[in-house]
Symmetry: C2
Subunit: 488 residues, 2 copies
Amino acid sequence: MSTEAKQITKKSVNLSEWYTDVILRGELADYAPVRGCMVYRPYGYALWERVKTLLDRRIRATGAEEVYYPLFIPRSLLQRESEHVEGFSPQVAWVTIGGGEKLAEPLAIRPTSEAIIGVMWQKWIGSYRDLPVLHNQWCNVVRWEKATRPFLRTLEFLWQEGHTAHRTEADARAETELMLEVYRALAEDDLAMAVIAGPKSESERFAGAVETFSIEAMMPDGKALQSGTSHFLGQNFARAFDVKFLDEDNIEKFVWTTSWGVSHRIVGGIILMHGDDNGLILPPLVAPYQVVVVPILFEETKAETLRAASRLTELVGKGRAFDEPIRATADLDEASTPGFKFTKWEVRGVPVRFELGPKELANSRVVAVSRDTRAKRELRFDLEAGTFDHEGLSEMLGELHARMRARARKELESRVFQIDGFDEFSEVVAGRGFALAGWDGRPETEAAVKEATAATIRVLKSRVDSGKLKSVYSGDSASYLAYWGQSY
Amino acid sequence: MSTEAKQITKKSVNLSEWYTDVILRGELADYAPVRGCMVYRPYGYALWERVKTLLDRRIRATGAEEVYYPLFIPRSLLQRESEHVEGFSPQVAWVTIGGGEKLAEPLAIRPTSEAIIGVMWQKWIGSYRDLPVLHNQWCNVVRWEKATRPFLRTLEFLWQEGHTAHRTEADARAETELMLEVYRALAEDDLAMAVIAGPKSESERFAGAVETFSIEAMMPDGKALQSGTSHFLGQNFARAFDVKFLDEDNIEKFVWTTSWGVSHRIVGGIILMHGDDNGLILPPLVAPYQVVVVPILFEETKAETLRAASRLTELVGKGRAFDEPIRATADLDEASTPGFKFTKWEVRGVPVRFELGPKELANSRVVAVSRDTRAKRELRFDLEAGTFDHEGLSEMLGELHARMRARARKELESRVFQIDGFDEFSEVVAGRGFALAGWDGRPETEAAVKEATAATIRVLKSRVDSGKLKSVYSGDSASYLAYWGQSY
């Protein structure tokens, strides 16, 4: 499996080929023998598991509880909310045969779970004392997509979907905003990405939502990546599924609901946003391994260097960074050269590489190399005494995280362009980044812009007073200042 | 949602109704609006998550890595291994429509993943240096069952499936045995169940396996529950999917594979095996909460008792039991009585209940009640000093675990009957337990016994020398001593 020996395509030369190369050669994932589906290999799954761990911690801190609703949704349930079914039915995979017989009613593989959840809530929720209901599930969903790419867009994908029911509109709106902030914090504080956050325009809303909020990251090719969405569903689903509660004032009312999700697509964002010509650069909080120890082997000192490398790896794992145990591994394969291993682990984006040879051992030091800058630093490692400079390593990881975050922020800022004319607009959205431009609030203008430039409103930045700003394309008075861009 | 106020059916009166009652009223799960599917509510999902945590730890300790293979298996792949397809196709759910169009080839929802894994391994495995491959995934699978019950048998179920590839037959056989032992240890050491473990007869093997091993627990109604299986697949799947490697001797060989799985059915086993007339009794290692603090409220001391209960819960959570932080919760609902809460948490099977009132507070004590014996013990709790007797609690939990384990073992032993005649055999398997009886090794004998008594061979205990023992039913010389029983 030593495919790493071959050079990967340079990121600066061809982003798309580089993306495929790092995923396949870094052994994150592979194409499944089903169109549009992928297989997670151990390293890729470990990366997703880290995202899960970090996000789940934030979700649970909001009070949400873990649940599991079924994979199948009978057709009649999916049809109850009219906008919902209209939005999703073109993308549904239908089970029509089970146990050797044609089913009386086809079952949808869940594209999202609002419909089946509505039915259960109708049963469970009776009084204001049962509210709020804060549920989250980690599961697989299926949407029949045409063009697919590993992580970014797949028929089956892994995600988390949160669903909440509230007593008042204000509570539900507050939940929607809270979760948008959770997603922003995940992306920026944990994954060292930079995002813009805000409401979508009507045409880009979740099917059945009153309002959709999104976090959007900017990729190196100037395209936006929608990386998490939070929906205020109003009472649409409550009405469709008759989810009512008896309020304290003894009046029966419909609940107010929200839903929110982040999928494995954000792994695609991590990959695209942070890598360089040599491969992935994984933010230390999410890296399956934060450190890889590479022993520098010479014939006469091989055995002791290998032993020391094992011992060092074990010692490193006893330290902490970001309030968690440090994740370290050693590459003790005797059949490959240090150079081969450097390349292999650079492709895989391990944040810090340790180089340990007889010279380092003699000096009670290990050479530590940051993945992003390749800057070297020596850290104290005394094999005899069994001591290691955990603080120095933790500092390196913290600094690396800070650098990655700052770079991402700077990159994002350099890709937002205040736009006046439509020519400039078209040029910006065709590969440069976000166009910050006025919108008259009319879907027709959005549709015309999309037709002409493939760009859509990613999020609305703010309302603007009438007459202060002109809308892109139409030239009419703008109602909103919006971030426009092409997207994945 | 205060349905607990009603009495649940007594376990000693009607096991089946009791089972449904504890699941629904204990809010573990509910029936989904799709035949044979269930919804996990937070308490039930937390229980499953505990099983996952405990089992995953054991699986990872064997060196297996987490992966994720896709939900869909194209029909042609499922058909490659002939016994496999024959065994599973009657149970498959087929997706025939996707994205609004009839699919050229129907896609099976995975009933198990050997087929799709075979294709990937054919691609990834090239040399003996790539072996062993040790993969495990936690996922949902679908089998179109006729009669279903929550946890015990559902159309969609949650499980883990491990798949491994090895260089030699010996390695693969060792893996099969290792995982059987992992499952035994999970059931007995973590879940305080008692099981018998051993090989299945040919007719009960996994479709495509050379040999299947199983752990079987005995339920209070005298029926066996197959709780985990480990399969030695020989080279059957390797041949069907052409998974070869170049060995050290430069000869191309087929790999040897295994697969092994435990599903959420084991949650059904925990429920059935340990409960009593008052509800669940959860083994402390797997209980979502190990302790529930119930404040005893009087009007004049309400506020301080509630505060003390919160403080106690927090303090308890800082202690450890079974090498993990103790999981404690407080029931601070002011609208319900202590008696209501006692019943509620007994139905839910929380191992230890704390009762904290003004009297206990004045004496710097809390009353601790074991769920199984209802024996009371006082534990030191000094609110002022902020101290609590963690050791005493940890001891209580340890003793409870040991009692539950011993009871389960004793119960199992009391339900194994050495059998001579067929009348006695029939009587034993019809509700008393396992019949330990001879088998002549012929499938026809097994089939006839099944026809006559609904009992099957659960596992083979040992080979017996010719002439030493007679086979049940046929009266011929027995080749095996076997555990026979009806099963879930």
